[in-house]
Symmetry: C2
Subunit: 154 residues, 2 copies
Amino acid sequence: MSSASPNEEEIDLSRLQRFLGYQLTRVKVHVHKIFLHRLASWNLMATEFSVLLLVEANPGIYLRQLGSALDISPPNLVPVVERLVSREVLMRLPSPNDRRLQQLYLTDAGKQLLQQAEAEVKRFEAALDQSLTATERKYLASALKKLIAFQETD
Amino acid sequence: MSSASPNEEEIDLSRLQRFLGYQLTRVKVHVHKIFLHRLASWNLMATEFSVLLLVEANPGIYLRQLGSALDISPPNLVPVVERLVSREVLMRLPSPNDRRLQQLYLTDAGKQLLQQAEAEVKRFEAALDQSLTATERKYLASALKKLIAFQETD
DNA sequence: TATTGTTATACTCTATAACTATA
DNA sequence: TATAGTTATAGAGTATAACAATA
């Protein structure tokens, strides 16, 4: 054959791959896809899983607290909470002290859902961990901690 | 004061923070935000920057090749390419051998834009690198390489 | 038949402004 | 006035089905 299929030809990715930002994006997208596939049985997205986990760890948390913990603005968090309330895994109860506030709690169904989903996530995380050496895990953790604290200098 | 503002109260993030997938997502989002802010002067988004870089590194590349290199499906890549063509930084030329194919090239304006943007990205990447130790850089790189190759076992 | 690029569509995520009800 | 939650809206990313032109 004189002309191969375009997809089989060699593409030079080196100029892009040397950027840490590019690597982080690719890894996040890749890991996120497998994560979603694992959670698909419970019809949960990553954000929804995080919301359930944080509400169980912090019963009575307010929407704004949840949003700042997850870096999601209140307008963007409302539909997520709304979906979970509709599924009856999350409850919104008005705060007795301040009627502007809504306190969030898991329902019994929500606790059961989270228990199963978290077990699956832990299996996934164990597999991820096992793909790395102890040294890689150690310095990956410290590097990620520094990168999350990275701020612009100018 | 007997009741503090909700946002000032302590939220327990520990159950979430121990997950590598959560850490990766948070770091990616954080670094991506600063990256976008740096590129804002050139009115470029991360995907657009990647497209320009890959096209310059691979003149005449086809849309499908570009898409598989960036893990973006053809329907989702078309509007990105369209925007860049409208800005006259990217050119689409029909392939002489196969009239279904469109070969992509940078215009002179595109080359100039990329040169400035890439210099800015390199400054950003240098600052990122400087926030890490040599050991962290080394094992972060090898860990990310393994994670991008991670596949589901079942 | 199979493939490239494209159109259409829908859903999620993100970002901003403005509204309501409470304080 | 200030704040919590909400509504509305728009842009960007992601996913799938289907189409026309070409091979």
